[in-house]
């Protein structure tokens, strides 16, 4: 999609989500602590691949309608799991290399990662029950 460089310079903050620019959450609600926006490849390595806890990775795009529905829905359910699982958000236009590495074709694509491996995945929007089952399986397995 088109970008206007002037506006990009003004809005120099890399993230678009509810979190501040360093991805360190400082809200008090549990959701904020468990969800973060991936900053770059090494951030992904540190906080997703090397994470001691399982992580769901939400690959999304600004131009994707269903992503805007799935994102908050997934975040809410991740928060419900009380810290047993974390959620990483990756904007595929900002982090195309990462998206390509994990073979993302369509968005939203959500990967379940445990100990650096992709153990589960789905593409497209899911309802709350389906998401909850997905998360429980990741935590339990």
């Amino acid at each position: 999609m088109a970008q206007r460089l002037a506006l990009q310079r003004l809005l120099a903050l890399p993230t678009r989500g509810p979190l501040a620019s360093h991805g360190r959450a400082f809200g008090t609600s549990p959701g904020r602590r468990n969800t973060f926006n991936v900053q770059d490849g090494s951030d992904f390595q540190d906080r997703v691949v090397n994470s001691p806890k399982p992580v769901v990775v939400d690959f999304h795009a600004q131009w994707c309608g269903p992503c805007k529905i799935l994102g908050p829905r997934l975040e809410k359910l991740v928060a419900k799991q009380e810290g047993k699982v974390l959620m990483a958000k990756v904007d595929i236009d900002d982090h195309t290399d990462l998206a390509i590495e994990y073979e993302v074709s369509a968005v939203p694509t959500v990967l379940a990662m445990k100990n650096g491996d992709v153990v589960d995945k789905f593409v497209g929007i899911k309802d709350e029950d389906q998401l909850e089952a997905f998360l429980k399986k990741l935590i339990g397995a």
Binding site: M1, Q3, R4, L5, I92
Partner: protein
Amino acid sequence: SVQAHKEEENPQKTMEVNGFMPVPDSYDYDLIVIGGGSGGLAAAKEAAKYEKKVMVLDFVMPTPQGSSWGLGGTCVNVGCIPKKLMHQAALLGQALQDSRKFGWQFTEEVKHNWMTMTESVQNYIGSLNWGYRVALRDKKVTYENAYGEFVGPHTIKATNKKGVEKLYTAETFIIATGERPRYLGIPGDKEYCISSDDLFSLPYCPGRTLVVGASYVALECAGFLAGLGLDVTVMVRSILLRGFDQDMANRIGEYMKEHGVSFIREFVPIKVERVEEGNPGILKVSAKSTRGDQIIEVEYNTVLLAIGRDPCTRKIGLDKVGVNINERTGKIPVNDEEQTNVPYIYAVGDILQDKLELTPVAIQAGRLLVQRLYAGTTTKCDYVNVPTTVFTPLEYGACGYPEETAVEKFGEENIEVYHSNFWPLEWTVPSRDNNKCYAKIICNTQDNERVIGFHVLGPNAGEVTQGFAAAIKCGLTKEQLDSTVGIHPVCAEV
């Protein structure tokens, strides 16, 4: 001049001496395509089918206003796709008005929100950009978002937006760098005016707009902007739609005038100044008559320049590899196999001299070229009888010769023109114009009354024209046309 002569005799030696690259004996890639637009991507994807190692370089230099976009080229990002979507938005506005007469009742006045439309259009384009990335990856084509330029034989330098440079070599190259809008070269043009490159992602409604130019880009943009309810004026230097059938062009102009677009004819802008800041602000345009000394000054929120497009061929190092370009226009002359004067360098798309500037043509040319290179075919791209459509408020579809060209080529006595006004059934109830839609065919009486020109002005002209283009390619004659039973009630039956 002695020095130049010596270089010509032994360019390789000279280049080595001057620190240039010698010809490599093995290459990084079989094919490098410079430009990821309609032609470039089609060629790259086709080459990958034959298991060739292919790279595509695509890079968008931002406009003076700062606009930029993703992979896919002009058509996808700032051309056909957003244009047609916005044209559709305008048509829907008209349809809403018509709908009352068909019984739909709604009390509110209908208004248009520019931001909603633009966001939807840009979201769709974003999905296309991503789709192209995925397609290239799936076909194992290497893609670099970098500016490519030749630095020596078989060698290009790719510079990404961070300024990092890399060198790549290939056995064959295809140049598909396309064009960008031309500016006027008057004070204030780059600072204050926008072009079609900016329009489709403009983050604010353009408001009262002056469109400079009378190309199809100018008329299509003016058309949909007016259709969305904006106050639009078109400033024309001489004629409308140069190169197209002039009778049809004038009908299009008349229709637009009767439907809210103002025209200022035979004037050119000489200065643009900003009177008030803002998005949009207010700009003052000074224009001079082409016929005398009269100068006028008019104020607009936005000035859209659509006076032509120039090929991106002057800053890609073509001189370093000896590719000839037309110095005046920047276009690249090629033979009928899209080959430049340098045997391993080819070109496709809008940058070609004397060829049509259309996406499907570039795609076809790119694909056939690659098939000739790697699949041993001999089929060349057929540039004759290519159909086209102008998406002005009253759409115009054409295939074959304009009337003037047919007369010039075959002689007036050998041409027969059959024509008719028609009134689309859908326009009757809402009492829309009954004498504006028009169709004509031009036949060559010396060749069995073969149809050599097809022109239609009316709704869905593009859809109508496509079928007739296929018939014309098969050698359609007037008799065959007459004996084809029409579908009723559709416009195409005329």
